[in-house]
Amino acid sequence: MIDNIELAVETLLKPAGIELEALDKPLSQLAKNKIDLGEIFIQKSEHESFSLEESKVKNASFSIEQGVGIRAVNQDKTGFAYSDNINIDSILASANAAGSILRTSKSQQQKIISSTPAESLYPNTNPLSSIENTAKIELLLALDTKARQQDSKITQVFTNLSSTFETVLILASDGTLAADIRPLVRLGVTVIAEKNGKKEQGSASLGGRYSLTDLLKKDPNSLAIEAVRQALVNLEARPAPAGVMDVVLGSGWPGVLLHEAVGHGLEADFNRKQTSVFSNSMGEQVTSPLCTIVDDGAMTNRRGSLQIDDEGNPGTHTVLIEKGILKNYMQDKLNANLMGANCTGNGRRESYAYLPMPRMTNTFMLPGKSSQEEMIKKIKKGIFAVNFSGGQVDITSGKFVFSTSECYYVENGKIQYPVKDATLIGNGPEVMQRVAMVGNDLQLDPGIGVCGKEGQSVPVGVGQPSILIKDMVVGGTQT
């Protein structure tokens, strides 16, 4: 079996005529300054996208991005420089620039030590070439046909297939030598349904870290059926209720609740700086005891998974909250060092041109004992939300929002009718204390999550079983 370090060296260093050992020199250059950590991060990424509209695949794009990012860290101070050129002179110049802002001290020769390869979570082959381009076009056309066949009220169909192939190589003064080769694919459908002058949309997507051959085996046509179903439901939607009420959330993608309500607030940088509402809460009861919430980067084929994070630490199953008690923050090297904690494999960056920081991988709640049916029966007047668009959080005040994209009004324990999109708002720790029931139906999202933080986007996963939360503010128009 070829190991990923060999493959990364082949892809990233060989074309530039650089030997792996030659990177000792820029690491030593960094070490001339007063540093806890000097790091070289080399990356190449290929991305391809095909899009269909008006029943034709008219838009296609392809891009290549590559470069080197060099970091010098001293306690909580970081010097950073990067270059789009992978060659030894640029790397040395960047090392010079990155380290220059920190005070100089004794020089130490850095030796690169190989680290143990992490568990294999996804194939190291390029998804862009895993099926023929003609097959990609056929897939998009088939989805279009399927969607239009479902119902004559469907007037527009948009489909998109995108694939990314990324190679990273990481060397650092703490002995890190690691590489990762990451596939990522995503297939999506959006439809517009019209009736009596009303127009609504429905969407469905799936994806993950696997090849397009694997994607074809996951019943992609079901996406067309699901998108149409959603659009037709939304056509019948009435104004959503406004006010404070009980909410049942469906399983899977509604886990964006956790991403916003607790996820960001448990990233170590905010807690080290004590700017998070969860700062100084280690060991305390922060949610209902029914909740155990984890962040797991070590799941096979998942969009949010990482064999190694962008600092070379293996993707890890980390228990964030156990039966309501706060157990761990998500750490990267810089924050773990300052907090005296262990790294949890959450050091991520959008690319070589950005600094890493603590980010989520796949964040979800473990299943409980109740059924979704039981939960709905408990609602006197409230909503049952099965799909969401996205969310946002202020980690200092703890306020978070997430917006429904498929939702039903419930009265006296029965689903009455679908309602229009509404934003739900709450205070993370307070809302999570009001989780009254946790379902037995854990699902992860179908592979569609994008997380933004400080201008950097990374792919993530979310998930949960069905949940009943008491007293959430629902932003409808019907008072």
Partner: protein
């Protein structure tokens, strides 16, 4: 000026790309190249936290072949990388479907005599003095009031960029810009009752930045004003969107009248040309060559002349926002807006923000929005919000953990007045906006 952002080199590369594309068989081709260089500095608790050297470049190339097209991007400007990118473009193009409207904008629309806009200024401040400015800014915030308990820090960014666009009609134009920004974010309160807020200044000319002390003090005041926020009873109230966030209302409008949303039938304002969408005192116009504008540009993303234009007059939609392709799909001509609108000015009343609040009497003054609960297809609007409760025309106390909901079509008709406190730091420059009839969800 550093050699890295000199436009002549990029214009040469652009020329080479167009030539190579034609040599390889493209009917037409276009390319956009960019380079930027600068620094991004964060300080926190009065010490340097991060120092980033910025230097990047990218090129994107669009080829047209028998009314099929493909787009490729690369960050490598070497001839071999450009050839590889072009080969990839030709490869994927052959699999796509042709569209009779896929071809370059007609030559007569191109801005061959584009103006040189004064958007690029040197900043010769040393790295240390930039760090000192950020530290001074944070210090002003930390010392503003004892209630300031923590800091997210202050940031200072300074960079210069050059952008080039060229196509096979012989157009090859450039635009040099600089950007300088100073911001500060602090925290007040403790434990479960913490609030954070920020303030910032932006300018192309570093001399035009607001002072570090001013930014720090305003950041601190905004933060303290949020402490001890309460919820509001669920109900219908008039609201004022503060000038800082009010532009979002018009941003949704411009998305809805963009050619892209219209031809795809994804707009909540279909067939809105010459119809009255807003009250008659609403006038929206675009001024793309404004020297102080956030989004000034001498030509659009297709090299088309940018010019002053009225989008809405007396509440009536006068034009859609179009590029060459979306124009063709609608049987219309490009408006020179490939890439968006450029410096949108909203006409205001002569009322100050205080007068607007007096006029409202009793309602909410919203200063911050959360989430993306805006449905562009239906106009349905539902956002998380925070701000202040107003009664007797005066701010009474801060409010948060509420949502505001309605439908944009109705909200536009419900605009009552716009104050003269225009926020110049946005592409869409507007004063605070008073509108009625929003549903607020808060306390029971």
């Amino acid at each position: 000026m550093s050699d890295f952002v000199k436009h002549e080199y990029l214009q040469e590369i652009a020329e080479t790309i167009i030539k190579r594309a034609r040599q390889k068989g493209a009917d037409q081709a276009a390319t956009s190249l960019g380079r930027s260089e600068g620094v991004s500095i964060n300080v926190r608790q009065q010490a340097l936290e991060t120092f980033e050297h910025i230097q990047n470049q990218s090129a994107s190339i669009q080829i047209y072949l028998n009314h099929k097209k493909a787009l490729v991007s690369t960050s490598d400007f070497s001839l071999s990388a450009i050839d590889q990118a072009l080969d990839a473009a030709f490869n994927i193009a052959q699999y796509t479907a042709a569209d009779p409207d896929f071809y370059l904008v007609e030559k007569e629309h191109l801005a061959f005599n584009y103006p040189q806009l004064p958007l690029d200024f040197n900043n010769d401040a040393s790295h240390q003095s930039l760090i000192d400015t950020a530290i001074e800014c944070e210090s002003a915030a930390l010392n503003y009031d004892a209630k300031i308990s923590n800091s997210d820090g202050a940031s200072i960014d300074s960079s210069r960029a050059t952008m080039v666009y060229a196509n096979s009609h012989g157009f090859n134009g450039h635009n040099n810009t600089s950007r300088n920004a100073l911001s500060c974010s602090v925290i007040a309160g403790k434990g479960a009752n913490m609030q954070q807020d920020y303030h910032y200044t932006f300018a192309r000319d570093p001399e035009k930045l607001e002072s570090a002390a001013t930014i720090g003090k305003i950041a601190a005041k905004r933060t303290i004003d949020k402490l001890d926020a309460r919820a509001v009873k669920t109900g219908n109230y008039p609201i004022i969107f503060s000038a800082d966030i009010a532009g979002g209302l018009f941003r949704s409008f411009f998305s809805a009248v963009s050619g892209s949303a219209l031809y795809k039938n994804l707009s909540f304002l279909p067939d809105s040309l010459d119809t009255k969408i807003f009250p008659e005192f609403i006038h929206l116009s675009e001024v793309p060559h404004l020297a102080s504008g956030m989004a000034s540009t001498p030509f659009d993303g297709e090299g088309v002349k940018t010019k002053n234009r009225t989008w809405v007059e007396s509440g009536i939609v006068k034009s859609y926002v179009l590029n060459s392709y979306t124009g063709r799909k609608l049987g219309l001509t490009t408006t020179g807006n490939a890439g968006g609108i450029h410096n949108l000015l909203v006409e205001t009343s002569s009322a100050s923000l205080q007068e607007l609040q007096k006029n409202m009497g009793r309602g909410l003054y919203i200063t911050s929005l959360m989430g993306n609960g805006i449905n562009g297809v239906t106009g349905d609007y539902s956002q998380g919000a925070s701000g202040f409760w107003v009664d007797g025309g005066q701010i009474q106390y801060p409010v948060d953990e509420i949502t505001i909901a309605g439908n944009l079509k109705q909200m536009y008709q419900n605009i009552i007045q716009i104050a003269n406190d225009v926020d110049l730091r946005h592409n869409i420059q507007t004063g605070s906006i008073l509108l009625e009839g929003m549903t607020i969800s808060g306390d029971k």
